[in-house]
Symmetry: C2
Subunit: 282 residues, 2 copies
């Protein structure tokens, strides 16, 4: 461990990774901020290239022990340097550079023969929403997530934080044409649903207990008319008349967990009314 | 309409309202940023005291017409001033000062005889989460929201933005002792549920179709053991084993909309199996 300042080449590299999506894409790297997020990255088996710490802030010595045992270099920064590099306004004393890879659209559908549950984000612009959606996909046991080129980068520090590190475990296909996702889904006989704040089938009346691909649109404009016309069915979450719409991350949570509930119900019915106590059984 | 600079007294007042919770509380005022949020405030019938615009940014002339017809003073700021005042990194060309009031804990339970559905936030610290939760409460048709003194201020500009203006329509009891909320709930025979990432009854097995008060805890630490022990039952959202927990705003969305679904099911069952097409029927 050695002490480094704001202008040291390794710190400049970290700063570029924090601030520039193109650098992250070119190098296949993301930055995890905070002890819990770094721990989540380690837990998923992600490969860490470097860990940067501020030795004057509180440290998770157990975690540093794990990092050390894996042979990951730990770089001690001069006090305050990490705070200046960090994207967060309340940075913690650790950042890690983590290897990430976007997979082809086919792979977010899982193995052939499975019942894939795929969320598709089209031009979701807010990194906080994007990270929260990744976390929902992971928590609900969905198969994977595809994102159009117009989406916020799920590997930006803010999105990684909002995902609580689950961005390192969810199969992600980035910068994907939504029409390609539709073609892949059709090839696997997976129904494609769009979401609309205004019309469509109530989500509780949709069969989400099997396979699906659900398309979520932009925070302000939703899904384009053309794309909606290419999908099999529009799905609608009925809301109180005093409110115009839900946030896209709330919609994702409601839909993914309704699907999990329906999968659970299906399992229970298959078990002849016995309560299924496995995780899939909800 | 007259032109004002960054140091004009009315702008100083706006800056204090944007940045200081104590000033907002003392004056009973909040700040709405952006055309859509200001429109939502107007739609709820909230009283606007002043509207500030940057005349060099794009303007919603219909909305300004409504503001003018209500006799609300419109203050034109010099170009760039609004951007410096705004809390947002991508400010729009309008901010409005809006009257707000916290109600007593009793009032978020609605009229006696109704079946209240009340969300209770205990030390939810992130203003984005707080605003998203307010929006979920409004959209799901829940009765109201109570917040402990340790919560982020729902009237901060960031929370107001995340709420998409629904903060002006939801009955809010702020700085409330959670134990007082429990006493009010008990007095109305409303069951009190806590949420836990680890244990409790699966939320789909909880009777949420009638009245309830659901307590959500802090983003990192959840609900305290003491508070959990004072509640009737802990509720749990089962999640995939690869993820530690859901975000508090995702949990709020899943629980409030499961309750709405159960209310809908109850209505349908009461109607003898016919599909209920009203909003309450989901």
């Amino acid at each position: 461990m050695e002490s480094r300042s704001f202008t040291h080449p390794k710190v400049l590299w970290l700063r570029r990774l924090v601030s520039d999506k193109r650098v992250r894409r070119a190098e296949g790297l993301a930055v995890a901020e905070g002890w819990k997020v770094v721990e989540a990255a380690l837990d998923t088996g992600a490969k860490l290239l470097s860990v940067f710490i501020d030795p004057d802030r509180s440290m998770d010595m157990d975690l540093l022990g794990r990092v050390d045992a894996l042979g990951v270099p730990v770089v001690r920064l001069q006090h305050g340097v990490l705070g200046r590099v960090a994207d967060s306004t309340t940075p913690q004393g650790v950042m890690a550079v983590v290897e990430v890879a976007s997979c082809p659209a086919e792979e977010v559908f899982g193995a052939v023969g499975d019942a894939p549950c795929v969320l598709v984000c089209v031009d979701v612009r807010d990194p906080g929403n994007m990270g929260t959606i990744v976390r929902v996909v992971a928590a609900s046991g969905a198969t994977g997530l595809a994102c159009s080129a117009g989406c916020a980068d799920p590997w930006s520090p803010k999105a990684v934080r909002a995902s609580a590190g689950s961005v390192f475990s969810v199969p992600l296909a980035l910068d994907v044409d939504p029409l390609l996702v539709i073609r892949v889904a059709r090839g696997r006989s997976v129904p494609c649903y769009g979401t609309s704040a205004l019309h469509g089938t109530a989500y509780t009346d949709c069969g989400l207990g099997g396979s699906w691909a659900i398309f979520l649109g932009n925070e302000s404009t939703g899904l384009s008319r053309d794309l909606a016309a290419s999908l099999d069915c529009m799905v609608h979450i009925p809301i109180a008349s005093s409110v115009e719409s839900l946030s896209v991350s709330s919609a994702a949570a409601i839909l993914c967990f309704e699907a999990a509930r329906q999968r659970g119900l299906t399992l229970r019915q298959a078990a002849g009314g016995r309560v299924n106590t496995t995780r899939e059984g909800m």
